[in-house]
Amino acid sequence: MIKYLKKNQIKIAPFFFLAPSIILFVLYVIYPIIDSIWVSFHSWNGMDRGLLGLSGELKNWKWVGLDNYKELIFDDYTFPINLLNNLKWLVLSLLVIPIGLGLAIFLNQNIREMKFIKPLFFFPFVINLVVVSLIFTWFYMPKYGILDLIFRFFGLEPIAFLAEETLATYAIIFAFFWPAIAYTMIIYLTGLTNVNTEVVEAGRIDGASGISMFWNVILPQLRPATFIATVVTVVGALRSFDMVAIMTKGGPWGSTSVLAYKMYEEALFSYRMGYGSAIATILFLIMDIYIVWFLYRLFQNEKSEK
């Protein structure tokens, strides 16, 4: 037996090395995805699935087919609001990429004090979103917030941004910009230090400068950075849960809620696990587009390297 193991250890080794992470990953990620999709076809209050009622039927758990999805799409008036908010997050968060790039180009200088200044620009990214949300909640606060102060300084009528249905979502997204720009800037700064100087100098000799240099020489070399920045920003924007939960709890009147927040409310406050899971499944399907795109790109690269 031991002899057999020794002889075939290259074949057996993967099982041994993979076991801990695979077991955990399947239990806590793969199985839950499948179970969530399964739950989304049921009506379930979260209690024991097998419990029988008086008439011998399952009491807490009932197959409803596509009813949850039908209700969500056709009868739930908050669904389009949530979806639209997700879309706002998605589209506006893309602005972070050119802003981060601009800032990175601005900071890509070798002056002495830059060593200390760059990290100061980075660190909104390290601060957790709870704190970022609290800071901005207070930034927007009527009467005492900084924004209010600025508005009054310019003689404008102050606005309670987080209390205005039409503005609150934008106010939260703006707060998200702070850490997100810091992140894209880090990515681009690294990208810029790796830009091939010879190509840049050759471009200069050919008379390229300023914008044409940027478009034709710099930007193509930053493509990997742009790719990562886009993927991470978009995933972050679709996960916008934390900031919404802390800054407005989805309010005023549900106007800032996103699918992620609605799902949480339906499942944990209304005990509608099936309905919540249907929302989660839709969110998952949207995200799948990105997952597939990312994997495709990655394996294309892998192939071209071989």
């Binding site: 695979i22 955990l24 739950v39 990208g191 992620a260 949480y264 944990l268 989660a280």
Partner: protein, 283 residues
């Protein structure tokens, strides 16, 4: 170098650049500076509407001791450490193993498993919420540190495996072949040859994972509910309800909550950025 180097420009341009640079850093950090200043103020100042004027007194010690002694913040802080440190260590350990095998060994499902680990990073947390909560309750780990720790390990191992596998792939494969020719076992190759070479990657990942776990809000909200287990993120949000308009305390609490990753970032900046920008240069 792009854009044109500022040191090669006339003095005037250099001064103008510096001026804009300093102005923008102040603007950029304004929210943070503001909250730091408020954390020093007294409540009576705030009640009188004196948020930005000259403070009548500096309440640094009062505010921070209020946060640490008269609120459960110290407990939350400790809980965060109890959750974050083991998670980081175990995640690195198991991912270094799976990353090793995915990079070194050839087997049928290799690519499939690798793709699975990558895909796991992008899924929305909500699709895991209901089942993960049930599993945690069934295992009797709801409202315990373990429940959070195990889940975090499982989820983060996806990203770490991805990262480490690609790192090991870049190492010269001849090292492994030579060791095999010498009769070294696979476990020996992992622990004595590859693991030491992985050190920079592990440091970079460790800093990153520490920050991710420390900053987690969603899972702490969903898997934990009592003060004795709650980490700082959820704790701070709970305290906000108690402190209502005592923004000096909320500000002090926020700073305490944000501090560990910030300190870590400043000390291990190089590792941090290396971890973060992994894949942004190549790939």
């Amino acid at each position: 170098m792009f854009p044109i180097q500022i040191e090669k420009q006339p003095k005037f341009v250099q001064y103008r650049y510096r001026l804009i640079l300093y102005a923008s850093i102040i603007l950029w950090l304004l929210p943070l500076i503001a909250i730091m200043l408020v954390s020093l103020r007294s409540l009576s100042d705030l009640n009188a509407g004196n948020y930005w004027g000259i403070p009548t007194e500096i309440n640094f010690i009062d505010n921070y001791s209020e946060v640490f002694i008269r609120s459960p913040m110290a407990r939350y802080f400790l809980n965060s450490l109890i959750i974050t440190i083991p998670t980081t260590i175990v995640t690195l350990l198991i991912s270094s193993m799976s990353g090793f095998t995915l990079a070194i060994h050839k087997f049928k499902l290799n690519m499939f498993i690798f793709a699975m680990f990558i895909a796991g990073n992008f899924i929305p947390f909500q699709i895991l919420l209901v089942p993960v909560r049930n599993i945690t309750i069934q295992f009797g780990m709801y409202d315990t540190w373990y429940g959070l720790i195990i889940f975090h390990i499982a989820f983060q191992s996806g990203f770490c495996t991805f990262f480490l596998r690609n790192f090991i792939k870049e190492l010269p494969f001849e090292l492994v072949e030579a060791a095999r020719a010498d009769g070294a076992s696979e476990f020996y190759i992992y622990s004595k040859i590859v693991l030491p070479l992985m050190r920079p990657a592990l440091a970079a990942l460790g800093v990153l994972i520490f920050t991710f776990i420390w900053n987690d809000y969603f899972w702490a909200l969903v898997l934990v509910q009592s003060d004795s287990v709650r980490p700082v993120t959820v704790g701070l949000q709970a305290l906000r309800g108690q402190w209502v308009a005592s923004w000096n305390l909320i500000a002090a609490g926020s700073i305490v909550c944000a501090l560990p990753p910030v300190i870590m970032f400043f000390i291990l900046q190089k590792q941090f950025i290396r971890g973060l920008t992994f894949g942004a240069v190549k790939g």
